[in-house]
Symmetry: C2
Subunit: 361 residues, 2 copies
């Protein structure tokens, strides 16, 4: 790949352009807002002058609702040898192109599983895709040359290619991203009018469950609109489970002992199915979750405390896998949970104790 | 408080006994399993010999279903001047004691908002309650002397007392703990039979939402059984919102433009209510969440990398508020997000860049 045209210079388009430009590809930038393409160009993502056509790769990075129109227009003009998009939903654009009888041999729908809490070209970075899955959804019509072009793009962006069918992709992101997002919003919504004393009792559990409910509604309304069918199907399935859970809890309050036993079995089934699903969530490194053990250290909230702990762990040769900092309600003191491989626990415990740290239990 | 009898030497009972014993209180330990009381005694939590009665404080730390019986029996025998329990649900035990015409002037129901992923006396620690809220639920009958005894216990355990009505407590923990727990299980349950390729696309969002679904079902069935009513009420309210969300998503697929507009408004309302609820979740220190900014640093997965980052931050005088480690799918490399006060961002960025760290964007 020697030349590329990136249409749409938001976070994803500009980040991909930065990665391609930094690896020697001549990148041209276009946007319906020329000032935004100019901003991307000023960041070193390429030039906002029009390219000599055809370029090797046309990369369409516009909002989901505009993807099919933009691709069809670019294909009509013969701007490139291969056409990719990066929309977070894949069935819709493919269906629209098919309905327009576009040349599907030159097109491949893709979706980099990267994102940030910020958007726009100023949030872009060439490293955005490093180590993240980048889904490719080839059809039987897709030319091998175009598939290889996509694999080259993914490689230049240091991402990990994952090949899926477009419909399977849409169901997958509904499951692992869109449905959990709405559930997080629905749980958080119940706190909107809660009493202050109740909210004071929040702990790390609800903090984790509701974290993604803080996201920008404007971006999410676009994503959910483009994948409304699969998300609605999943939420309807979950609503059925939820109805059964409510019924099981009501049975637990019954005067009839058989009903109470049935209710307890129903609630336990939900908890056990939750266990079974949770262990499937990949941990670090995309592998099956490894089991880490936690060593908990009391700190006060001064600069340098964490540095000293990590330095002491490093000197003991212990590799820290994850860290969780819990702070005490109404106090400045806190607890640092350090997750390490089980075999490192005695080494770390000894090293930290020797250095005078107070460990929990 | 000079003498205490702790009945039930699991995680909470033994931890409280350890805290009291370490601050000079003579603690007696009892358990329906004498071997478990012996274990707690061997950890320094007190003696498993019977006390001279009455002791100053009888602390009942048995499973929720056994609380009222255990309290009534202790009161009948006149074992103490004041009687407290630490069950995670408060309305049930109080109602049962009232039904038995127990002397409620000597009783106060409490709930320390502490816990760990482990249980039993071996997981106990005198520091378990440090800085955490400890709910006290006095009734009009409660003697001031008993309330002061509870406040002394909370103080000796270095916890933060929060006074609430028993029913308000049960509704509050249903809202901030029990309902989110079941929702996390229900989301995780949908992954149980998901395809491997779908599960590979999981990111930090679903990882956070489903984390608490990994908890022990046996403990949770006890908690949920004891608070089934308020939890069922909250889940039923959430089910209504969920039904409306499914309907809004279905409208988004309609051929009728008005319906689509209505559907988009419905989905947006859920997302915005989620925003409004999420900001109420207290952050660190139990205060309203402060806004931190993130500085993202690339690392490889070697011992000492985090130590060096934290040391470099500490030398620059920057106080790290929170840390999140993201690891790349299929790779050993990762990204550390360091959260700091906004004013510390330029200082930290400069310090880390000078030390040769690669920052994201």
């Amino acid at each position: 790949m020697r030349t590329a045209l990136v249409i749409g210079t938001g976070l994803i388009g500009t980040s991909a352009a930065l990665a391609l430009a930094s690896r020697g590809v001549t990148v041209h930038l276009a946007d319906h807002d020329p000032a935004q393409a100019g901003t991307a160009a000023s960041l070193g993502a390429g030039t906002d002058r029009a390219p000599e056509v055809p370029v090797d790769l046309v990369l369409v990075a516009v909002p989901p609702a505009r993807v099919a129109d933009t691709l069809a227009e670019a294909m009509d003009k013969g701007l490139g040898r291969g056409y990719l998009d990066v929309a977070s939903v894949k069935g819709g654009p493919l269906g629209e192109l098919r309905a327009r009888s576009a040349d599907l041999s030159r097109y491949l729908g893709t979706h980099p599983m990267s994102g940030r809490e910020k958007s726009g070209p100023l949030a872009a970075t060439a490293e955005l895709f490093e180590g993240r899955p980048w889904v490719l959804t080839p059809t039987p019509e897709t030319d091998t040359e175009v598939l290889n072009l996509a694999l080259e793009l993914v490689s230049l962006c240091r991402a990990v290619p994952v090949v899926m069918d477009a419909e399977a992709h849409d169901r997958a992101v509904a499951l692992v991203s869109h449905m959990p997002h709405l559930m997080s919003s629905l749980v958080a919504a119940r706190l909107e009018h809660a009493e202050d004393t109740a909210v004071r009792l929040c702990g790390q559990g609800i903090r984790d469950v509701t974290r993604i409910a803080a996201s920008d509604p404007r971006m999410w309304i676009d994503i959910l609109s483009a994948n409304a069918g699969p998300v609605a199907d999943l939420l309807a399935e979950l609503a059925e489970d939820l109805g059964e859970t409510v019924a099981a809890l009501r049975s637990l309050q019954s005067a009839d002992e058989d009903k109470r036993t049935g209710g307890a079995a129903g609630v336990e089934a939900v908890l056990r199915r939750g266990n079974a699903g949770q262990v499937r969530v990949p941990g670090k490194h995309g592998a099956a979750p490894r089991v880490y053990e936690s060593v908990a250290v009391f700190i006060d909230d001064q600069p340098g405390q964490l540095a000293r702990i990590f330095a002491d762990a490093g000197r003991a040769g212990v590799n820290i896998e994850d860290v969780r900092i819990e702070h005490a309600t109404g106090q400045q003191a806190g607890l640092v949970q350090i997750l390490v491989e089980p075999k490192a626990v005695p080494v770390l415990t000894r090293a930290l104790t020797e250095q005078g740290w107070v460990l929990r239990g």
